[in-house]
Symmetry: C2
Subunit: 200 residues, 2 copies
DNA sequence: AAACACTGTGGATCAACGTTCCACTGCAGT
DNA sequence: ACTGCAGTGGAACGTTGATCCACAGTGTTT
């Protein structure tokens, strides 16, 4: 070894790529535009990440970390402070929605294959799993409180998550025929929670 | 006017593009490959459709028509023949899932922005709306039978649709941590229907 | 202090892509 | 028979992801 690579450079590249994704989307992002924005040569990206997919994967991974943080605490309000289990889930998913609608293109990168055959790596999928734990914990609370019926919390959390994701995807791609998406989103989740209720 | 354009040619191009989408996906599809497959010159595609997005839109439109047909009748079995309202919805969405999983790339084109900033046109969105009517009708039956509580059938149908779509998207992009996706899919829908139940 | 090893630069290059242009051909309508 | 447009074939342009190369800079080792 002769020289220690500066990971400050790596951060700059990922930050530039993130900004690019947020502004124009992953599909419109180019290696040259990222390099220019980060103030590095196009070659450096390949030296660091290998190819474009790997770079996008790094962007997605970082986004999942930010998502998890935002779910746990938004504007200083901890999700754990909400005691009512149902409202805890509702508020958590409301934050989830604000994240998605605030950064639609980033959300698209995380959950779609927006650019060619890009797929999230297993490592990034692990980070996504960490984010999901927030919802899993909320479900566990609901079960303990008897508001949700006994079942595998992970499986239940994913049912709720899927429903929320489905609504968001439709909203983001303008598919569907809804006046008030905000209301529709919450209605769908409340319907889900009602279906998961302990009563019979 | 001198010559009547053969829409047989148009059909050939759309058919070739559909096959291409099914096999390699919309992102990997190229104008040249479609032209070659259809046995026409690349130029003809532009003469007919304008650009690639318009061609993909035509493919999506056709796919929505096929989806609606398949929902209504699969292997000669009419959906309307199922009298039980709940099982009617379940079977309809099972067919929906088989369509999606049988043609994942086509499904991706219909509901994602898989290639750049491509969006379904308003006209194609109308066709999608027609497909949704199958589910709306099933919900109406459920309400009439008292199995589902009184509400706007269109709004309710979209809640169910969104939940189904969410599960499918996660399955298709390998996001989520589920053993048996088939079971998870049906569980999610049944949870939804339970939440929509007439009982208080 | 000197030599080394590696990172990053700058620029050229390649193949593939969507799209456009143009000259040419062939058929349908008057 | 003449005319006009649909479609062909091929070249071309600009942009993209990716690779290659010679060169400069800098931290580490000797």
């Amino acid at each position: 070894m002769a020289r220690t690579p500066s990971n400050e450079l790596e951060d700059r590249i990922v930050a530039a790529a993130s900004a690019e994704v947020v502004e124009v989307g992953a599909a419109a992002l180019t290696q040259r535009s990222v390099a220019k924005r980060a103030g590095v040569s196009p070659q450096s990206i390949y030296n660091r990440f290998g190819d474009q997919h790997a770079l996008l994967d790094a962007v997605a991974d970082r986004a999942f970390v930010e998502l998890a943080e935002r779910l746990r605490a938004e504007d200083g309000h901890l999700l754990d402070d909400i005691t009512d289990p149902v409202e805890n889930v509702i508020e958590g998913l409301a934050r989830y929605r604000r994240f998605a609608m605030g950064n639609p293109r980033l959300y698209g990168l995380m959950f779609d294959a927006q650019v060619g055959d890009f797929r999230i790596s297993d490592r990034t999928l692990g980070t996504a799993f960490d984010s999901l734990q927030v919802l899993v914990r909320a479900v566990e609370r609901g079960i303990e409180a008897g508001v949700l019926s006994e079942a595998d919390p992970l499986e239940v959390a994913q049912r709720i998550w899927a429903a929320a994701h489905g609504v968001l995807r439709f909203e983001l791609t303008d598919v569907g025929f809804v006046d008030d998406w905000d209301r529709h989103y919450e209605s769908t989740i409340r319907t889900m929670l009602r279906g998961l209720g302990a009563s019979a």
